[in-house]
Subunit: 411 residues, 2 copies
């Protein structure tokens, strides 16, 4: 181990020290057609330039009426109205309704001037070619969406840094916005380190293991909305590692190193980060299990994360530290992708450490159970077999079998 | 309305009638590099060709030992072992350990022949240059991941039709698989219909509204893993609509029509589907609110869905009918993206109909509440303002304020 202070911080402290450097990341904006914007993050508030609907609109097939003409109407005592014409779909209703008149209208049709409600066709009867009987009264505004009732001009429709969903694209279309300004994905370079690593397409020899982290991190970066690039495997060589990090920093905003698990690799990573021109080490280790060895350095508007070598630890450290940086959601966003379940066995945790335990969800007799997927953190299969994880917070000593836990889903 | 029987079916019946036609869709496979496969669906089971790890491996920094040599060791009475050498990271450990010997090993190092456990460096002391004292015993297998313990050769690692997550990419890399065979996205053509529709970039005139559904459907298709293409807006004209549907069917596996809300449009859609060569209408309406008008036709290995014109209804009908077809998950998959919440007001539902109600989630005093986002189903803003929906099933009459409900999240 290096003689440098091993400065372990809590997740909260880590985020606090990252905050000023996240603002220095060179986030670019770009304008994209709305249909290409699903999953992208808005770079500004979006204000509405027109009312939706732009005119009062019928929500039923029937007759546009002046509601006062229907007051007191019943099947026994219908109100008689003159049918003055028909509103054509997609056309402006210009003909004004006079008292005692009605106009045929279909769902979506524009309410003519003078009308304030729509009576459903089922509640009327034709008396002759141009007269209807109204069999029940309608209130003002009934079966009508008023101009601007859905979205009104000047309203903030979508706030900054919102991840656009299909319905949001629809809402943008509704207000006549066909292009939207979103953040360009941050470029993220990924480097794996360690003498023992071989890439998946290479022949494996005894003593070697395959590079897993390049691929889990690639997927995680994509899911977070970043643009990942692979920079391959670097052996335990200080000079080679420094050159590769510098190469990756040229084209990327963030570089992720994931350490081989050997002492040598850890030392090289630390030394490289210490010697990077203009960089400072923010912290060295977070109080999270698994995931503890996570060195972070910042400088020149860029960030370098040295993540653990164990695949599960690397994923946890990514989720805790890197994902919030990529999405720009450093403050704890209200997380919604979780379920409540009953834990099937007791788990103990060391106070002062945040424990992340992977679980498999099981439906049994109408109840949801979370079964811890135990096994060493190096095992990739624990990740494949699990549906998500539970977090035992800093201050707690564990959970007891049968207790309710919150499972954060990993899909 | 047309005189054709308005054949309304339940969601279950709809899925049953779709099943044989889903099998006829022309799903293609393709091989992609694993790093490009996140979010894609596997087209076959993936069987493992090599053990992971490929050799027994240390999980700690320390000494590889034969565990029997440490039995009975204590701080007061250490076991003395000769240090026969060091296992180099990434290299094969060929030197065999003799009784009474230990070998230096780092985390991830290969266990040498003759060793069956690793003693942590903290539990030893150097006595001289080549001798250590072992201060506590280790059990056989302690601090070791055995060959094949993570993933063993011949095991099915990932099943068919699994949506690949970052950890799955890592697991594929771990077993030396650098390319994976996945389903090609189905091509989905999207057409909006109605005289009253204008696209978002056009000038709007009174009586017209903007085409919303093209964009919500585009996003929904992408989220489901399909490849969407827009075919624009067709006015209420039978011939034009038929031509556009035929054009879209040439390049797509599925065509989505979303009807303007006018009676004329509904009639045209029905007639076009009736007259398509080789097609049959499977059902005409599903007992879901909102979403009821949803005509479905199948033929020539393709499917055409006529979805409702109201944006919220179109989204619900898509989620219920189209999404399971695109993902190939027609049978109710165990849904995991939901949260439990307390409903803030009572909702009534007509038995015999599945009601989908959009809700906004609110955290208050440590509890999660679901507040129904009411308003007419045509309002796009109800979708933007909501976090998800609750479903009141066919047989139930509603939910009471204060009851616990399950909210399916729309992100």
């Amino acid at each position: 181990m290096s003689d440098l202070m091993f400065k372990v911080v809590t997740v909260e402290e880590a985020k606090k020290s990252l905050e000023p450097f996240i603002k220095q990341l060179n986030r670019q904006k770009e304008s994209v057609p709305i249909e290409k914007a699903c999953g992208r993050y808005t770079s500004q508030n979006i204000t509405v330039g027109e009312d939706v609907p732009g005119f009062s609109r019928s929500t039923m097939d029937g007759f546009a009426v002046n509601s006062v003409d229907t007051f007191g109407a019943s099947a026994a005592m219908p109100a008689y109205l003159e049918v003055a014409g028909e509103v054509k779909m997609g056309e402006e209703a210009t003909l004004e309704l006079s008292p005692g008149e009605a106009m045929q209208i279909a769902t979506g049709g524009m309410l003519p001037p003078g009308a304030d409600a729509v009576i459903m066709i089922e509640d009327t009867e034709w008396l002759d070619d141009s007269t209807i009987g109204v069999l029940k009264p309608v209130a003002p505004g009934e079966n009508v969406v008023r101009k601007g009732e859905d979205i009104s001009q000047g309203e903030i429709l979508i706030t900054e840094n919102h991840c656009l969903r299909p319905q949001d694209l629809g809402a943008l279309a509704a207000v006549g916005i066909d292009k939207v300004t979103v953040w360009k994905p941050l470029n993220i370079g990924i480097i794996s380190t360690g003498n023992e690593l071989v890439s998946p397409e290479e022949q494996i020899r005894p003593g070697m293991i395959r590079d897993i982290n390049s691929y889990t991190l690639y997927g995680l970066v994509q899911e977070a909305g970043g643009n990942p690039s692979l920079y391959g495997i670097v052996k335990d060589d200080f000079r080679e590692l420094k050159e590769r990090v510098e190469e990756a920093l040229q084209d990327n905003d963030i570089v992720l190193l994931s350490g081989g698990s050997s002492v040598g690799t850890r030392d090289h990573t630390l030394r490289v980060l210490q010697e990077m021109e203009g960089f400072q080490i923010l912290f060295h280790g977070i109080s999270v299990k698994p995931g503890k060895p996570a060195i972070t350095a910042a400088g020149n508007g860029k960030l370098v994360f040295g993540l653990p070598g164990h695949p599960v630890s690397a994923m946890v450290a990514f989720k805790v530290l890197v994902e919030p940086v990529i999405t720009g959601q450093l403050q704890n966003k209200q997380k919604l992708n979780f379920v409540k379940a009953t834990i099937t066995r007791s788990l103990s945790s060391t106070p002062g450490r945040e424990d992340h335990v992977r679980v498999k969800l099981i439906f049994k007799e109408g109840q949801l159970f979370a079964e811890p997927v135990l096994g060493k953190s190096a095992l990739i299969n624990t990740m494949v077999k699990s549906h998500g994880e539970i977090v035992i917070p800093l201050g707690e000593e564990g959970v007891g079998a049968g207790e309710e836990v919150t499972v954060e889903l990993s899909n």
